[in-house]
């Protein structure tokens, strides 16, 4: 197995990058939410699943296809996010992050349980949009067009979000509120509204990830639960709340996982946690976190 031809290795690296782009998209949302709300949003995976289900409902019940769903599903889930933030998370703001973790974990279990009950666990198929069918023969592998699209859109979104947070006035408010919320509100900025919008945006990103994943995998109640633990590891490795850290780590760990699938496939679902343990030992605040 060690004599892997260099060309096959390229293929595996590319696949790792594709999975990494899902990790990046989800951990980005988590990092933003943790940064501003100090909430470890455990229902992120469930909302990712919800995004896929909204897309499925739109197609089955209203005949609305993939492209509109790409906008509509994140909006719908974003609205649910507003509801969650306003009615639940706001009540526990300022408390230990553990409360937020438990609350959102409970929410995740409820959502997954309800959907498993209604739809079963093996999920429903979701057709790939016809514009993205087929793929490119690269010589060393066959690259499906849809996967290229996934890498592209997640790169654009990740870099765009990073640019907004680092380079615009809105972003500077956000960063300032993360550091010292009372001071920012003293400058006349509506911090509670900013918190709501941030949460909605974060879970909207998760929903978008769900829509992107629907044609590749299935629309299944467990799709989020399978992914969320890995994504949390990504956030921890990258450094809790570090935006750039979560993006970069997402892609790197996708690649690392891909390589493990070649050299020692049995360990492919544990390698990320091994890395997490090592990083926590050596740099407890994560690779990109502020060491205090």
């Amino acid at each position: 197995m060690l004599a892997v031809p260099i060309q096959a290795l390229f293929g595996q690296l590319l696949i790792g990058l594709i999975n990494g782009s899902f990790y990046a998209l989800l951990s980005l949302g988590l990092a933003i939410i943790f940064g501003l709300l100090n909430v470890i949003n455990f229902c992120h995976g469930a909302l990712y699943m919800l995004g896929a289900f909204v897309a499925w409902f739109l197609l089955e019940k209203a005949g609305i296809g993939y492209w509109p769903a790409l906008i509509l599903a994140p909006l719908a889930v974003g609205m649910i996010g507003v509801l969650i933030e306003r009615t639940l998370l706001r009540r526990i703001s300022g408390l230990d992050p553990l409360y937020g973790l438990l609350l959102t974990f409970g929410l995740a279990l409820i959502l997954q349980g309800l959907f498993s009950n209604w739809f079963g666990s093996s999920g429903m198929p979701y057709e790939m949009p016809s514009q993205l069918l087929g793929g490119q023969a690269l010589g060393f592998m066959f690259l499906p067009n849809y996967r290229v699209w996934v890498i592209a859109i997640s790169l654009v979104l990740c870099l765009g979000t990073w640019a907004v947070i680092e380079g615009t006035r809105l972003g500077s408010w956000l960063r300032a509120a993360t550091e010292n919320a009372p001071l920012v509100s003293a400058f006349g900025i509506n911090v509670p509204r900013m918190v709501t919008i941030t949460y909605a945006f974060g879970v909207g990103l998760a929903a978008l990830g769900g829509v992107l994943a629907a044609p590749i995998y299935r629309v299944s109640p467990l799709m989020g639960a399978d992914l969320i633990i890995v994504v949390f590891a990504v956030v921890v490795i990258g450094g809790m709340g570090s935006i750039l850290g979560s993006i970069v780590t997402g892609f790197i760990l996708g690649i690392l996982e891909g390589l493990t699938k070649v050299f020692y496939p049995e360990a492919s679902n544990t390698v990320i946690f091994v890395v997490m343990a090592i990083v926590l030992l050596v740099r407890p605040a994560g690779l990109f976190g502020k060491q205090t």
Binding site: G11, I216, S220, P265, E266
Partner: protein, 403 residues
């Protein structure tokens, strides 16, 4: 002194309870995956099937009622073992049925033997349950890895697929399925070029499929099940594996998997089943009754197997008028030929193997299907003596000891 008396009493208890129905209730425990990747092929459907079998047996035997309980073993052997012990020791369960995930099934079979109860395995695959790990308290009902290998596996080899690469779920079931299928391939003159073992419950198979692709094998054998098989087949379609000339052999595919994949992805796939709802009038009648109570879902062979197994178990208890000695109940079940509306006539062998024909189906094209759940065309029927491993080849101690 008191402790000694208690011990003596405890030793005497099983004897005083013999030859009657313990606790005036026949308690059937359905132990399976209620929430994970095998929940649709077994799960709540198996519980419903057991309940239907209890109702169809009259709901009572003498003045003892029949009760069905269930639990979620989460596909983890430790969780499953704990539940089995709790059920047998505390809750008075007489028989455990279903138990998908071979690693859990092997553990439950061991515990059942220790406690002298009954285990009726419908969903587990590993042929070791009636081989090296066979038990006088266990019956393996619906299918096993040997039967899958000799139905789907040999059909694929016969159509020219003589070089294989396996994608194998990394636990007891996947390994047994790969072993049994590889034996079919090599004994028909074919070659196994390699295999990759993936963790149970994997989302992304593209990396493994790429390895299978570069092996240049004609056939990629999927030695996995449930959600893992669905994900493998979807990724293979997306990465152009089939268009590139390689063939997929889904060695264990359930009806619920096809439902989830959709016919446009699954068409043309060979499937081995011991039960398909649309086989004859009796299976249709049973499945219709089942579907009415399960939101229109048709039963898989695993769920139908639970119905058939529980029905036969209750017949044996009725004949013995006792459920207290698990070994005696199983012996009675083996003595009586089986006959029920879902599997037809059959028998149970000394090693615990239930015998019935296996059927090779091909998944219909979307244009051929008349609607939801109309998915299969029959290719051929494989008689039990060809589908299942010969009695003397399994190394089952129960068989070898008799000689």
């Amino acid at each position: 002194m008191n402790a000694r008396i208690a011990l003596l009493l405890a030793l005497a208890l099983p004897f005083s309870a013999s030859a009657e129905i313990t606790g005036k209730v026949i308690k059937i425990g359905v132990l399976n995956d209620q929430s994970g990747l095998y929940a649709d092929l077994a799960g709540a459907g198996s519980v419903m099937a057991a309940k239907m079998a209890a109702e169809d047996s009259g709901g009572k035997i003498g003045d003892a009622t029949i009760e069905v309980i269930f639990a979620d073993h989460q596909n983890k052997p430790d969780v499953g073992s704990n539940i089995a012990r709790q059920w047998y020791d505390v809750d008075g369960v007489d028989v455990i049925v279903d138990v998908p995930t071979s690693s859990v099934a092997l553990a439950v079979s061991q515990i059942t033997r220790e406690k002298n109860k009954v285990f009726l395995g419908s969903s587990p695959g590993t042929s070791d349950l009636t081989g090296k790990a066979c038990s006088p308290n266990t019956i393996h009902w619906t299918y096993d890895t040997y039967a899958l290998a000799h139905t789907t596996g040999s059909a694929v080899v016969q159509t020219g697929g003589d070089t294989w690469f396996f994608l194998t779920a990394d636990y007891a079931f996947g390994q047994a399925l790969e072993r049994d299928t590889a034996a079919v391939v090599t004994s028909s003159g074919g070659k196994v070029l390699g295999s990759v073992k993936h963790p149970l419950n994997t989302t992304d198979f593209s990396s493994f499929l790429l390895q299978a692709q570069s092996s240049k094998a004609k056939v990629i054998g999927l030695a996995n099940a449930g959600g893992d098989t669905i994900n493998s087949i979807k990724a293979a379609a997306e990465f152009g594996i089939v268009r590139g000339g390689q063939k997929l052999a889904g060695l264990l595919v359930f009806l619920s998997d096809i439902h989830s994949l959709g016919l446009s992805t699954a068409q043309g796939l060979f499937v081995s089943e011991s039960f398909y709802w649309d086989r004859d009038d009796k299976t249709r009648a049973f499945s219709k009754r089942y579907a009415q109570r399960m939101n229109g879902r048709m039963p898989t062979m695993a769920q139908a197997g639970v119905y058939s197994a529980v029905l036969h178990y209750l017949k044996a208890v009725k004949a013995l008028k006792s459920d207290s000695d698990g070994r005696a109940v199983v012996e009675q079940m083996k003595k009586t030929p089986t006959d029920d509306p879902v599997f037809g006539k059959g028998s149970i062998r000394q090693d615990g193997r239930k015998l019935h024909p296996m059927y090779l189906y091909e998944v219909k094209k979307p244009s051929e299907s008349k609607g939801p759940w109309d998915y299969y065309n029959l290719v051929k029927e494989v008689p039990p003596d060809q589908a299942f491993r010969p009695l003397d080849k399994g190394e089952c101690p129960l068989v070898t000891a008799q000689k």
